[in-house]
Point group: C2
Chain length 247, copies 2
Amino acid sequence: MAEVKSVDTRERILDVAERLFMGHGYDGTSMRMITSEAAVNLAAVNYHFGSKESLMQEVFRRRLDWLNEERMRVLNTLEREAAGKALKPSQIVDGFFGTLLRMADDEKRGGTTFLRLLGRTLTDPSEFIRTFLAHEYAAVVDRYKEALFKALPDVPKAEIVWRFHFMLGATSYAIAGTDALRLVTDWQIEESDSIDRMDRLVPRLMSFLLGGLRSPLPQFSDAAATVETKAGHTTTAANAGPAVDSK
Amino acid sequence: MAEVKSVDTRERILDVAERLFMGHGYDGTSMRMITSEAAVNLAAVNYHFGSKESLMQEVFRRRLDWLNEERMRVLNTLEREAAGKALKPSQIVDGFFGTLLRMADDEKRGGTTFLRLLGRTLTDPSEFIRTFLAHEYAAVVDRYKEALFKALPDVPKAEIVWRFHFMLGATSYAIAGTDALRLVTDWQIEESDSIDRMDRLVPRLMSFLLGGLRSPLPQFSDAAATVETKAGHTTTAANAGPAVDSK
DNA sequence: CTATGATTAAAACGAACGTATGAATTATAG
DNA sequence: CTATAATTCATACGTTCGTTTTAATCATAG
């Protein structure tokens, strides 16, 4: 049972595939691109993973297994320390999105490459990929969803689910499309450095997410206004509704 | 110069291509899928558009030309009515994102199909697509960016650009991935109908975007706290910083 | 060392891809 | 009606795709 070179081969394929899938998408990345860049034989992918689809799934599973466990672990710890009391929304948001974003610093867990891949893949057209990702996420998302329900008892559950959706979108776009808007605008970076990206992106994004999560509830045409009532929710009735303004 | 049937052919190709590109992505949609569903000859695309890339660009240009003009028109009207005074952030956000979202109701402008396509394409891996989209968006984004700078003079410009980025992400994900999270969670829709999507999505998303845009500024490790000072910004110093909580 | 199973290598498979060609068909102009 | 340009059509080209096959190479156990 020889397993010396094969481990390296497997890992090298996964690393290259991760990077190429990130840059060119699933359909846009060919087996020959992967195997030639990884300096392995063309048949190696099918030998080690069975098919291109299975390779893609393994690329994600390698990272998501850890991420899911870490997210669960963080939430368990938080709830244990809270001793039955509801968590603070910021704790929950940080447990879910902060844990994800901190992977950027951990090159061993894929770093920014995997983050960008994940961000782009959430809106990937390929059917089997979205199905696979949804299945991988299901349990963890449900747990965090429930935590948010408990943390925000006055907010309709449907509203929380929607805002979770919005937070996911803002995050995945932030980690995926760092180039898109950069080309569009002059980017207006007055600040000194520009490669520090992540350590400044995280607080920026967190602030945005929490602002959105805790924003006054929308008012529909028919329904009566449902406004946050809990003390400290910063939201006042004065600026509730979709037309919240600064003056 | 016969142009009777060709117009129908062109439009039919564009309509089918728009729908298929939305569902399967650019690489995942073949010429044969398009031409067979559109009931035209395989060579029709190359005859009318030259190439697959040109077809893709025409699919977008057909919708974006109108969207860009409308966004410009709305902003011009707002600024004319404001008579030099700064606009309200909600007006600017609604002008940019509301105008986009309202395309969903206009089947003549592509409706939800184009919206979902646009949302997914912003993170599309194909190089030429992102370049093309960035070029199409540049002028309008710059104008709205400037409007936000003027509306929020106390907020650092870099911060505004980031939050614009985040808003774009939340929006594109909201209109693109309506299925992704639906599979993950039980979706917790307590409300009656579920097909009304857009007319309830718009105020929901708007509320979220404004909450994020007007959220207290993040505090970095080194820098001093920069907190919104303008009256009515709802944000109090007590819950400024990345760890904003409800209690 | 030899036998055995795991891995790598080179080559080929059929299918699907985007595109191009030239003839047939259709519509319009004079 | 005839001539001419625009469009549609059937078909084929050359490439690239993911996968498979068969043989060669490697590492380890007995």
